[in-house]
């Protein structure tokens, strides 16, 4: 009987626990605390933290991880059982004599854990564009169409991405890794995941955690920079009322933006197409059921899968490294520069234009919809309680989403 118990104990997971795993349990605990008790981006941080906890438990049937020859780990490995089909062997093509011979197989069975399959949504770049479908369905581009010059604020707020690229490179990261870290400054989680999965998948967990953590800290990070770069007189500038925007304008906007962005940055197609498809569905007014799905079921289901998949990449072996600390620091640098870029561009606009812009709305150029716009509004009301900046700030805010997607496309076309 004792032997039976000992045999059973040898099958349990206790023997696989390491001190690094215990540290990661604490990290996951902190993330869960921030999300649940403090309300920091709970929709994403809860699944990410839960995934991180699961990644550092000796699970079976969840996700398969293998140590590669270069010392890194790769997740989502499948075991495929297949039968060669008769007469299916193909010799290498004459044009490429070095290519390996191929053979057609009949797949009988594919074995993998639950997340070996689900995480293909990230590996194959499916989840971020599909989340953009929901984002598009949730976004009203009306304020941007009514005041299109705020697009420049969204563009200027991408300054942090490129500045951080430079800093990350100086700190020893490769160009691909630096671009993936820089995109944190765009404050756009799906885009950060999309880009880092393509350019630096080994940093995906740290980048996603940094991006979503800082997005939740926008109300703490941005106000000091906003106050530092603006005068009291600038903060109380009242802006002209936005003109009403017709449905036709919104529909043309969705199609034209998609075409312009694809023509200029084809690598951003997946994100831009889905964003504008979601928005077109929303604005056309005849696809209410589809909009409902995009705004609710699709985005919610994918958020659960995306969050947990990203969390599952936070294995102790990968995450507990000095690189993670560097990414955390560089992330806040990226955010700060992006905020500053938007504010300074608004100030420059005031110098060049007779129609003044409240520089506080410049900080909203860092995507993070709609929180960054709300921060601009709240900060403006601190100095003039009757100044309503929210809708004005939504212009650069949604422009930031497009700007970050374009920047990601640029990084992809340049580096992949």
């Amino acid at each position: 009987m004792l032997q039976g118990l000992l045999d059973y104990l040898s099958t349990t997971g206790f023997q696989f626990i390491t001190w690094k795993m215990v540290i990661m349990w604490a990290v996951a605990g902190v993330l869960i605390y921030l999300a649940v008790a403090k309300g920091f981006e709970p929709l994403l941080l809860v699944p990410i933290a839960f995934g991180a906890l699961v990644a550092n438990l000796p699970t079976r049937g969840i996700i398969t991880v293998e140590q590669l020859a270069n010392g890194t780990t790769d997740s989502a490995i499948f075991r495929v059982e297949a039968t060669p089909l008769e007469n299916s062997a193909h010799a290498p093509a004459a044009s490429d004599p070095h290519a390996a011979p191929t053979q057609t197989l009949k797949v009988n069975r594919v074995e993998g854990g639950l997340y070996d399959f689900i995480s293909q949504g990230v590996k194959l770049e499916l989840f971020p564009p599909l989340i953009f479908l929901g984002v598009g369905a949730l976004t009203d581009f009306g304020p941007l169409i009514a005041m299109p010059r705020t697009l420049l604020l969204g563009a200027a707020a991408q300054l942090g991405l490129f500045m951080t690229f430079f800093g990350a490179n100086l700190l020893g990261f490769t160009a691909k890794q630096s671009a993936s870290i820089g995109i944190i400054g765009g404050a756009d989680g799906p885009t950060a995941i999309f880009l880092s999965n393509k350019l630096a998948p080994e940093l995906l967990g740290a980048i996603a955690v940094a991006a979503y953590s800082y997005m939740s800290l926008v109300p703490l990070i941005q106000p000091p920079i906003m106050r530092l770069l603006t005068t009291k007189k600038e903060r109380v500038i009242r802006m002209q009322k936005l003109r009403p925007v017709s449905k036709t304008e919104k529909l043309i906007f969705a199609v034209m933006v998609m075409m312009i962005c694809i023509l200029l940055v084809p690598d951003a197609s997946a994100l831009i197409v889905m964003l504008m498809l979601g928005n077109f569905l929303r604005e056309c007014g005849v696809t209410e059921r589809l909009v409902k799905s995009a705004q609710n079921e699709i985005i919610n289901v994918l958020t659960i899968f995306l969050g947990t998949t990203v969390g599952l990449t936070m294995r102790a072996d990968n995450f507990l490294a000095t690189d993670t600390l560097k990414i955390i620091v560089l992330g806040v640098v990226a955010f700060s520069f992006s905020t500053a870029g938007g504010i300074l561009a608004a100030k420059l606009m005031n110098v060049l234009s007779k129609n003044p812009v409240n520089p506080l709305i410049g900080s909203a150029g860092v995507s993070a919809v709609p929180m960054a716009a709300r921060v601009s509004h709240v900060e403006g009301q601190r100095y003039d309680s009757n100044n309503y900046l929210l809708m004005h700030a939504m212009g650069p805010n949604v422009a930031g989403v497009i700007g970050t997607a374009v920047a990601a496309g640029y990084f992809l076309s340049a580096l992949s």
Binding site: L138, I145, L151, F166, V378, A414
Partner: protein, 134 residues
């Protein structure tokens, strides 16, 4: 070198560890691309705005479109086809009066909620409410 980097797409040739000069030019290129894309959209929107403002017919607001505070209740004629019974209008007007603490206010319209949109609206509200401004 600088001209080469800005004018042609040699971006794929950026080494893993670029020099400071290469890195700065890479960033400059990126900012130009972003400004070009968003600037093009700006131009397109300005053009669209001009066209739509020109083609928009002058609209004169109907005299009975809304009721004005302090007697804020809209007249029955202001509601389409008298869809909302007068007693409901009175109740809503009283509620608005209480909610605004007697401040001057104006009820522009009383429209039945569109049940088709409720789920979408609730989803939007939930997602927006999850981003807490502290």
């Amino acid at each position: 070198m600088a001209t080469h980097l800005i004018l042609s797409p040699p971006l794929a040739t950026l080494p893993d560890y670029p020099s400071v000069g290469e890195s700065v030019l890479f960033q400059l290129n990126g900012l130009i691309v972003v400004f070009l894309a968003l600037g093009s959209i700006w131009g397109m929107l300005e053009l669209m705005g001009v066209i739509f403002r020109r083609s928009k017919p002058a609209v004169t607001p109907p005299a009975s479109a809304a009721a004005t505070s302090p007697a804020a209740a809209p007249t029955p004629a202001s509601t389409p086809a008298c869809a909302v019974p007068p007693e409901i209008i009175a109740v809503i007007s009283a509620a608005v009066h209480v909610a605004t603490a007697g401040q001057p206010h104006r009820i522009a319209a009383i429209v039945p909620a569109n049940a088709q949109l409720d789920w979408a609206r609730e989803g939007r509200r939930t997602i927006f409410a999850s981003h807490k401004t502290r």
